[in-house]
């Protein structure tokens, strides 16, 4: 992580947020890393369909078998519904693949950008100024 790069992306985010106006300025996503994304597979332990934001908790098992829980923040469920999301698209126990912008503190959390559901369908979240998050290609 290069500090200068982080500031660069944060500045870009601020400019775009300012341009996007009120809709984007509601809740800050500045706690998340705008310079990279992480893609993980895991089992859903909770799908919190609430405002102001939805939350998806998943358990991720690493190569050694250890399980780590990740907390992934989504957008408002109203924004999700307006682009076709429904609460029943994710259920506890589902195996999902997620792409998220990690929390800058390094804790196991992130801003959810895209989910691949158990049935293989992939959906992006309507994150305001989503193009300010630099996407890291998934590692095989």
């Amino acid at each position: 992580m290069i500090p200068g790069r982080r500031i660069h992306w944060a500045c870009a985010a601020i400019i775009i947020l300012a341009m996007a106006g009120a809709a984007a300025a509601h809740h800050s996503f500045a706690v998340y890393d705008h310079s990279r994304t992480v893609t993980l597979k895991g089992k859903v332990t909770k799908w919190q369909w609430t405002n102001p934001h939805a939350y998806l908790d998943i358990d991720v098992r690493d190569a050694s078998g250890a399980v780590k829980r990740y907390v992934l923040e989504g957008t408002s469920i109203n924004m999700l519904q307006r682009v076709g999301w429904r609460s029943n698209m994710i259920k506890v126990g589902d195996e999902v693949k997620v792409e998220f912008a990690p929390l800058l503190t390094g804790e196991p959390a992130g801003l959810l950008l895209e989910v691949t559901f158990a049935n293989g369908e992939k959906r992006e979240l309507p994150v305001p100024a989503i193009n300010t998050f630099k996407r890291t290609p998934e590692k095989d």
Partner: protein, 246 residues
């Protein structure tokens, strides 16, 4: 029998009048030049609107406001944003709700125009053709007391009684702040709300800005309850996220 027929005819005439809103308003003895602004609206880009400037605060308040805005920008750039009031599930209030974070619905009924902002289910009631009360008689709140009247197709609104901690663009204001609005439907179909904030205690001159909205055909507002937000404000006022088990 004859009496029954008369009653039915009367009811039929009344209900046909009720079908067309302008007719109802005409019937109510109000100006006929009232546009139908009922329905769902969302913020729209309008190149004719100049970009919103900073609040014209008096010199003694400008520095503090600029320092605050700078601190907010720097905190966000560091990845440690300050927790805005929405993190605590608090709505924007006036005039922030008119900035339309989410769609809004306008309802025109007899003696009242009601504006519902989907985010935080914010509701304001504009009482038509009523006198405004002195500021001190209005209990301070998020939306204040709004009275309005139609003037040549423009809804002219006056609002007082906004709590001093309900801020728009972080600009400080006094309890005497007055919000004047001119809400009009343009020939281009856009609804515009020209907002002028008057507050001689804090502002050098009135602060005017305009929001435009476009109609959302067949959109019904969704419910919005702010609950169990995992974002929170830490003891330094910074926005953090609650992670169970840590």
């Amino acid at each position: 029998m004859y009496e029954n027929i008369t009653r039915w005819v009367f009811a039929a005439v009344l209900s046909s009048l009720a079908l067309t809103q302008p007719m109802v308003l005409l019937w109510a003895g109000q100006s006929t030049n009232i546009p139908d602004i009922s329905g769902s609206w969302e913020r729209a880009r309008d190149p004719s609107i100049p970009p919103q400037g900073q609040p014209p605060l008096k010199p003694q308040y400008v520095k503090e406001w600029q320092a605050k805005m700078q601190a907010i920008r720097e905190a966000a750039a560091r990845g440690e944003p300050y927790a805005e009031r929405v993190v605590m599930c608090l709505p924007e209030g006036m005039p922030g709700m008119m900035a339309g974070p989410f769609p809004m619905e306008i309802l025109q009924s007899k003696g009242q125009v009601t504006i519902i902002q989907e985010a935080y289910t914010q509701v304001r009631r504009i009482l038509l053709d009523r006198e405004q009360k002195p500021v001190d008689e209005v209990e301070p709140g998020f939306y204040g007391r709004s009275v309005g009247r139609w003037e040549k197709g423009v809804l002219v609104v006056d609002t007082v009684g906004i709590r001093e901690d309900v801020l728009y663009q972080h600009a400080p204001h006094s309890k005497d702040m007055r919000i004047r609005e001119r809400i009009s439907l343009g020939a281009d179909g856009l609804l515009r709300d020209e907002i002028t904030i008057e507050d001689p205690a804090f502002l050098e001159k009135p602060w005017t800005f305009t929001f435009a909205y476009r109609r959302m055909a067949d959109y019904q507002l969704l419910e919005y309850i702010c609950e169990d937000n995992r974002q929170y404000s830490d003891d330094k006022g910074l926005q953090k996220i609650r992670i169970p088990g840590l």
